[in-house]
């Protein structure tokens, strides 16, 4: 998968690149709209991450022009919160998703996966997890054909951990994903434990859940 990051803040672009490279994305960087647009002419991209607050051009125009050049790419818009958030939400700009800064890189990857899933059809969305199979599109967990019913938040947690498998995720990162803006720093971390306990209880009735590890004082990790 090839990604173009159009972001004038070099340090941020660099962090995004580091993260996405680890997730096996190929990244190109562009610091200005001009540079971004010319890169789009030269290469084909699967994802274009576009900062709307570029110094040289109005982000909206850049998006419109980019979509003409690369109609097949998926677009995720990155904005400073409060700046254009509502306008973007209100307008159908043709972007696939948007993220308000500051965002978590984990969240970015999760959104990119979701877009991929949407665009590539249903077949690839079943991910094996030990003796279980997680169907990300239909939001189902099965074990040798038996469906295990998880609550909405339990499923969200499990799929988020699965997406970022082999990485430690802190309770705060998890609660931010589940509750978004409404996450309550201290309090919600405890609820993550409750949910994980429930997930373990429900799944271990069918097969081993050794892959779901607790990292003391830190959080959780799916190791496969």
């Amino acid at each position: 998968m090839k990604v173009l990051i159009v972001e004038d803040e070099q340090a941020m672009a660099a962090e995004m690149e580091v993260f996405l490279k680890k997730a096996f994305y190929l990244c190109d960087l562009a610091a200005t709209a001009q540079e971004g647009l010319s890169k789009m002419e030269e290469n084909q991209y699967d994802f274009i991450l576009l900062d709307l607050g570029l110094p040289d051009r109005d982000g909206m125009h850049v998006l419109a022009e980019a979509r003409k050049n690369c109609p097949d790419a998926s677009y995720i818009i990155l904005t400073a919160r409060g700046q254009l958030e509502d306008r973007i939400r209100g307008l159908d700009l043709g972007a696939d998703d948007y993220l308000a800064k500051p965002f978590s890189l984990l969240e970015l990857q999760s959104r990119m996966q979701a877009i991929n899933r949407r665009k590539s059809g249903l077949n690839q969305s079943v991910v094996p997890l030990g003796d279980f199979a997680v169907d990300l599109s239909r939001r189902r967990v099965t074990c040798s054909g038996h469906e295990i019913s998880l609550s909405r938040k339990e499923f969200d947690l499990l799929s988020y951990l699965l997406l970022h498998k082999n990485r430690p995720l802190t309770r705060m990162q998890l609660s931010e994903h589940i509750w978004g803006n409404f996450s309550d720093d201290e309090a919600d971390s405890n609820y993550i434990d409750v949910h994980i306990k429930n997930i373990r209880k429900k799944l271990s009735a069918h097969a081993s859940v050794e892959w779901l590890q607790t990292l003391r004082n830190i959080g959780y990790k799916i190791k496969i």
């Binding site: 803040e9 340090a11 941020m12 962090e15 995004m16 580091v18 993260f19 680890k22 607050g53 400073a80 919160r81 409060g82 700046q83 509502d86 800064k101 500051p102 965002f103 978590s104 890189l105 984990l106 938040k153 970022h164 082999n166 990485r167 430690p168 802190t170 705060m172 990162q173 931010e176 509750w179 803006n181 409404f182 309550d184 720093d185 201290e186 309090a187 405890n190 609820y191 409750v194 949910h195 990292l215 003391r216 004082n217 830190i218 959080g219």
Partner: protein, 442 residues
């Protein structure tokens, strides 16, 4: 007092004063004019008499007698002729009493001394005063009537004209000042008036509002830029830490350190978020166009908060008619308002406590939504400041940054909602949300 009322009062009172003055002066004036005219008339009559006498000779009248007196020559007035004494003054006009056939009558008498054949005579021409002033009363009455009619007409035209004249002022006040909402976003057309003062006022107001608007725009731009500037470094830090955390082979101690840093950063992020959120509400950036079923909204929020409710083993009761709907509201903001209040109701509750949401609506009173908890309550000393920003209160060891209720307050003000709190320390808190009529449908 309104300008129009003042002017009306002034116009009416000044005209009434004129009428009163006129009524007081009128008899004297009419009298004076009547007498002046009469005196002039007597002089004319005198000339006529002298002409007649000099034509016919004085002897024709005296006929050997010493005096002559007659009503026949002038019909209306009497004349008398008699020789003048040595000290008789020359021409005088005076009001004197005369006895005529045993009646005492008041006359206006002109005395004239003239010489005929070296003999000085006094000619008197007189007229009864009752005939002089006989038309005074009807004249006064007519004059008064005409005056009052004229005054009434002028008062009416003055009032109509004043009303017309002041109409642009009312228009300026209502369109520029009363019905405008900060930050005066929409540009209104100039008020059409031929009065330069009003034009000046209108132009000045437009200019002033333009200045306010541009200052406000600048501030908003600043807020927006500041947010961008603040969020970018936070963003970079967060992403850097995330990248370090995903580096699998870190020792646990370092991971814990980074987690601590992430927590602090998260706190910073939340504070900046909250401040931006408040400033965006104050900047009027949320359209109030949604219609919200309250029962559904509260249910959705409570679903979100279910874990917290369960952890504290709190009971929740909701008594709201399904048709309770508010309109002219921003969904996101009202959601946030109720969310913050319900979240507080959970956070400051005691384990095993209760939360009650119910309405209070009787005819003639506005619709009120109550959120009641059986929590720790609010001490009186903190009551006055709970809605203030960054008012740090320490409850049960939990640190509050005072922004939750500050956001509630900002949202409430933005919608014209009134929120009152009553609380008993140790027993619980009741938040009463009173919606303005404009938000209640039907």
């Amino acid at each position: 007092m309104k300008l129009l009322t003042k002017l009306t009062l002034f116009i009416t009172l000044s005209k009434v004063a004129i009428v009163v003055l006129f009524v007081l002066l009128l008899p004297a004036l009419v009298d004076k004019i009547a007498y002046q005219y009469n005196d002039y008339y007597l002089k004319e009559q005198k000339k006529k008499v002298l002409q007649v006498i000099s034509k016919n000779g004085i002897g024709a009248y005296l006929q050997g007698e010493k005096n002559y007196g007659s009503y026949t020559m002038l019909k209306e007035e009497y004349i008398s002729l008699e020789p003048a004494g040595r000290f008789t003054l020359s021409d005088t006009i005076a009001t004197v009493r005369r006895v005529v056939e045993e009646d005492t009558l008041t006359y206006r008498v002109l005395s004239h001394v003239f010489t005929d054949n070296q003999q000085r005579y006094v000619l008197e021409v007189g007229k009864t005063t009752s005939t002089i002033s006989q038309y005074n009363r009807p004249l006064q009455r007519v004059a008064l009537f005409v005056l009052i009619t004229l005054i009434v007409i002028t008062i009416m035209t003055d009032l109509v004209f004043t009303r017309l004249l002041l109409r642009p002022l009312g228009l300026i006040i209502s369109t520029r000042l009363v019905n405008r909402k900060f930050p005066f976003r929409e540009q209104l057309p100039h008020i059409s008036t031929s009065t330069t003062d009003f034009k000046y006022l209108d132009d000045s107001l437009i200019e002033l509002m333009g200045k306010i608007k541009s200052a406000f725009e600048k501030e908003r731009e600043f807020t927006s830029n500041a947010s961008h500037e603040l969020m970018t470094p936070i963003s970079i830090l967060q992403n850097k830490m995330e990248n370090i955390m995903t580096d699998g082979e870190l020792d646990e101690e370092v991971q814990k350190q980074i987690m601590g840093m992430m927590k602090t950063l998260h706190r910073l992020k939340k504070i900046v978020h909250s401040l931006l959120f408040i400033s965006r509400i104050e900047n009027d950036q949320f359209p109030k166009t949604d219609q919200l079923p309250l029962r559904e909204l509260v249910t959705t929020i409570m679903d979100e908060l279910d874990e917290r409710l369960q952890e504290k083993r709190l009971s929740f009761s909701l008594q709201l008619p399904p048709e309770a709907t508010i309109r002219n509201a921003s969904h996101d903001l009202i959601f946030q308002l109720l969310y913050n209040l319900l979240n507080n109701a959970i956070r400051y509750n005691k384990p095993g406590g209760a939360i009650m949401v119910y309405d209070q609506h009787s005819p003639g009173t506005p619709f009120r939504l109550m959120i009641r908890d059986t929590g720790i309550g609010i001490p009186d000393s903190e009551m006055a400041t709970i809605f203030d920003r960054f008012k740090k209160v320490n409850r049960n060891g939990q640190e509050g940054y005072g922004l939750g209720l500050s956001i509630v307050n900002t949202i409430a003000q933005y919608h014209g909602i009134t929120i009152t709190v009553s609380a008993a320390p140790g027993e619980g808190t009741i938040f009463t949300i009173t919606f303005p009529d404009s938000m209640i449908s039907g």
